[in-house]
């Protein structure tokens, strides 16, 4: 029973995504909507992403400095570890988990509200491909903006690590800089962007699916919003693992 329901959801999800990838009725309308989404998802999330990134970098640096106490590992490794953990894992994954909460619940509520107020029916009757018009700009906006946010998060995290360690004397400026410049593998940046794209798709398409098929009233809308965040988070972690297995 549960497996049947799960498979039905998966099938319906892919069907919806198939319908969403369609030629726009009017490119200018989709362009305008994509711009709005880029602003909402990207610019609207900048402050929270920066704030979280600073603390992630700072905590990673302090924790690692603590673990290096009384060891023979060179202290400049703090910069190296902060850089690599941030780029490979923390910036894409934590940023996207946070965005799944912020953006995902918002998208599910927005589309779910439109479904309940018959806005989607009204558009369908006008001849609008609602799956495409309501979902494509959101996914596209996220695919453009979230990798940028992740890149900013990675940079700010490294800066956060610096601020948490250098001014308080845990490590010198030269040591931190040396660590950040050491053993750099550019492939890690590619890995970061692969994760960002995959997570961006998940954290927009799953909430859109949850909102699009919402039924009932405000309780169901709240449930759809919660499911959107929970399922997005689970899928992000699952794909984080799969990407790690496949690409490293």
């Amino acid at each position: 029973m549960i497996i049947n329901r799960f498979l039905a959801h998966v099938g319906r999800y892919f069907q919806l995504m198939g319908t969403a990838i369609a030629r726009p009725e009017k490119t200018s309308m989709y362009y305008r909507e994509t711009m709005r989404q880029m602003n909402d998802i990207g610019v609207g999330s900048l402050v929270i992403v920066v704030l979280i990134a600073v603390f992630i970098g700072a905590v990673t640096a302090i924790q690692f400095a603590y673990q290096l106490q009384d060891s023979f590992v060179p202290r400049y490794y703090i910069g190296y570890i902060v850089r690599d953990t941030t780029i490979i894992e923390l910036a894409p994954t934590i940023t996207c988990l946070v965005l799944a909460g912020k953006v995902g619940s918002n998208l599910a509520a927005e589309i779910g509200g439109m479904r309940q107020k018959e806005h989607i029916d009204a558009m369908e009757i006008m001849g609008v491909n609602t799956a495409a018009y309501l979902i494509m700009p959101k996914v596209l906006g996220a695919l453009i903006m979230i990798p940028m946010l992740v890149a900013i998060a990675a940079f700010v995290s490294i800066l956060g690590g610096y601020l948490a360690t250098v001014p308080v004397g845990l490590i010198s400026h030269a040591e931190y800089e040396l660590g950040v410049r050491s053993y750099f593998v550019s492939y890690n940046i590619i890995l970061m962007f692969i994760k960002s794209f995959v997570f961006a798709f998940i954290l927009t398409s799953v909430p859109c699916y949850q909102g699009y098929y919402v039924k009932g009233g405000s309780i169901e809308l709240g449930r759809a919003s919660t499911n959107a965040v929970v399922f997005s988070d689970i899928l992000i972690l699952l794909f984080d693992y799969l990407i790690a297995v496949v690409f490293t």
Binding site: K26, K117, A122, M126, G127, N129
Partner: protein, 254 residues
């Protein structure tokens, strides 16, 4: 003209519509009436394609609606306008943006041409100057009129209205009825209205079907309502003792 042929709709084990065969004519206000749960809304949703029938066909002219591919369905839908029970106006858009939405989406008109078309529709529904208001800043009657303006902005061939008078006071309901009737005649639209408002039945019912438990139990026009001996119709139309007395008096006088 819209025609339905043996339209059946079931939800699980429950059959809501049991073989509806009827016609809706252009230039006339076609009414679907019946008690709550009779299947009116399901029939209307089948007509516009929001539900798929379990069996049967809906013909738009000579075209079987449910045999069409998605592209052809969208082409037909551009000839359709619909007024929803709760108006379904996009609440984060102004009145002007709501009415302009179909033009933005489907036409290559210039902004000036769009504004002219929007203003002409708003004028038609007596809402001149309401362009910059948000739906939340307007009354229920105004929202219905904005809904009508949006429904007719692309000059549709078919207009569907789901309980256009629900939640309105009797005076405003009459205004809305007359507006729909006038637009139907003016533009020779096939208008299908789902209602249980008795004023609408008696004022604008050119072609009426009465649904009872998913079947058509009576059909006729407003002029035939008084004379009809159909038990379900009389029970439905003249539900209150007051209306029954009025009917008796009217029949006596005639």
């Amino acid at each position: 003209m819209i025609r339905t042929e043996n339209l059946i709709k079931s939800f699980g084990d429950t059959t809501v519509l049991k073989g509806i065969t009827t016609e809706f004519y252009p230039g006339k206000t076609n009414l679907i009436i019946g008690r709550s749960g009779a299947g009116k809304t399901v029939l209307l949703k089948l007509l516009v394609g929001l539900h798929k029938p379990t069996n049967g066909c809906v013909w738009y002219g000579d075209t079987d609606f449910f045999s069409l591919d998605k592209k052809a369905v969208r082409a037909i839908r551009m000839e359709v306008g619909m007024l929803f029970q709760a108006s379904a106006l996009f609440d984060s858009m102004t009145v002007e943006e709501n009415v302009r939405f179909p033009l933005d989406m489907f036409t290559n008109m210039t902004p000036k041409e769009k504004l002219m078309q929007v203003n002409s529709c708003l004028e038609r529904v007596s809402l001149e100057g309401a362009n910059s208001k948000y739906p939340s800043e307007t009354s229920g009657g105004m929202q219905k009129r904005v809904g009508i303006a949006r429904a007719i902005v692309l000059n549709p061939k078919y207009l569907f209205c789901d309980e256009p008078n629900s939640g309105l006071d009797p005076k405003t309901a009459i205004v809305i009825d007359e507006l729909i009737k006038d637009i139907t005649v003016e533009k020779n639209i096939t208008t299908v209205i789902n209602t249980h408002d008795m004023n609408s039945v008696m004022e604008i019912g050119d072609n009426i079907i009465l649904l009872y438990h998913g079947e058509i139990t009576w059909r006729g026009s407003k002029d035939e309502v008084l004379e009809s001996e159909n038990e379900y119709l009389q029970d439905f139309i003249f539900a209150s003792p007051f209306l029954q007395r009025l009917r008796a008096r009217a029949l006596k006088n005639s």
